[in-house]
Amino acid sequence: MEIGILSTSGGKQLATLTVDPNSTLKELKTQIHRLKSHLYPDRQEFRQEPRGKGLDESKTVAALGLKDKSKLYLKDLGPQIAWKTVFLTEYAGPLFVYAWIYTRPWLFYGEDAASQPMSQVSHIAAICWVFHYSKRILETLFVHRFSHATMPVRNLFRNCAYYWVFAAYVAYHVNHPLYTAPCQIQSYIALGFWAVCELGNFSIHWLLRNLRPLGSKERRIPRPTKDPLTLLFNLVSCPNYTYEVGGWVAFTAMTQCIPAGLFAFAGFYQMVIWAIGKHRSYKKDFKDYPRGRKAIIPFVL
């Protein structure tokens, strides 16, 4: 049977493919790649409507109800980059930038800064920061299971600018010779809270990994496990984001530093958007999705 492939931008006919009903969309992508060499499979997304949802490439033509002369839309996702490359740059960047500024380079602080005393909180903050980003790198390497193998390149520049610039911005203030530490009790309590949030965030990532069988792109409703930190799933759809925000709020309280607070707020803002999207997606995909859950802030949002 023949399937017409149309572009999502403009509806132009890109190709006509000869397929049999058991061909998967993945095989169709390979065919298109042979016809248009710049459209490698990771760059392609099939849709049934120009603005519709992306189709799972493991599905067959028959399963989607396509017949002879049917049409499919193809979106060019733009140049793609592998996730491994993404996390090395996005997460390693802030790690090294902060660590470098921690050494009080003359470029930011002048010649005499490195020899001046540093408060205990600044040392602890550096350890927290490095730990957080190391954890992220390790999770991306060993824990997370991605529904899509790549992401658009232009996102990389935008994301890196955000992470790297903010890292420098926060690091500059916390490691400054004129940095003023808050009272110790405040810092220690905040540090404890931070540690719980880091552990909580990891617990959720671990749970989500085990929710998805290896090699599949299946989605299931996440529910609390024996790990008490996962009980947050009873209250929110995205407790990983809740813990992440909690961690940054704790970091801010520990350092009493407005730049850290601005970074926490920026992250919060973005994660609220993601959480609401994910929450809606869950509710749409699962008829029996638990009612009492909010998106990211228990009882509130």
């Binding site: 403009g10 509806g11 120009p50 203030h173 916390v174 400054h176 004129l178 940095y179 003023t180 350092t255 009493q256 530093c257 407005i258 730049p259």
Partner: protein
Amino acid sequence: MSTPKKAPRVLSLPAKAYLVLYNVIQFLGWSFILYKMVDHFTNKGLNVTGLWEQVEIPLLIFQSAAVFEIVHSATGIIPSNVGITFAQVFSRVFLLWPILYYVTETRDQFGFPLLLIAWTVTEVLRYLYYILNLLSAVPAILQWCRYSFFIILYPIGITGELISCYCALPYYSITQEFSVLLPNKWNFTFNFYYYIVLVMLAYIPVFPQLYGHMFLQRKKILSNKKQD
């Protein structure tokens, strides 16, 4: 794009009357500024000295009044995007107050007349266009002007703005005004000098986008007219 066009917005009579009034006031204000500017150049030639004094009061009043347009877009009585309107008004007000008004050295340099020419001609055209548009009586020649003059005025304007910002830098470097320094309890700093530098750098990505957008608008609107 195959998306259907949105239905044209319907303005209530009070909102329409208010907008006409607002735009008329702005049109008169900017026309006056334009007149004072042309008057200065006619009498003094290409001499910058004294130009600021000629236009100072109406410029401060009528350009600052543009903040109303942010409210207009937020309330929906004009179809513009709030973010874009905010950015445009903010950049003007930023040039006007902390640069031109605050740092007197910026009034005697080459950038000031450049931006003044760009601003006055653009605004006179723009507000006249809005008035006649609200009355559904825009002559083709005005539409052509509005969507063509920008081609030269935009680059002239931003050149003037960037030069003026640059001239204000030494003042803020020395006085550290509007800046927050360390040490302080909240470990917060704000360096106005670097902020101006940041604003200047922002022109690099922003200007091509705005300029390109205007060209797209021009193509869309002027070719539509031909089809009529």
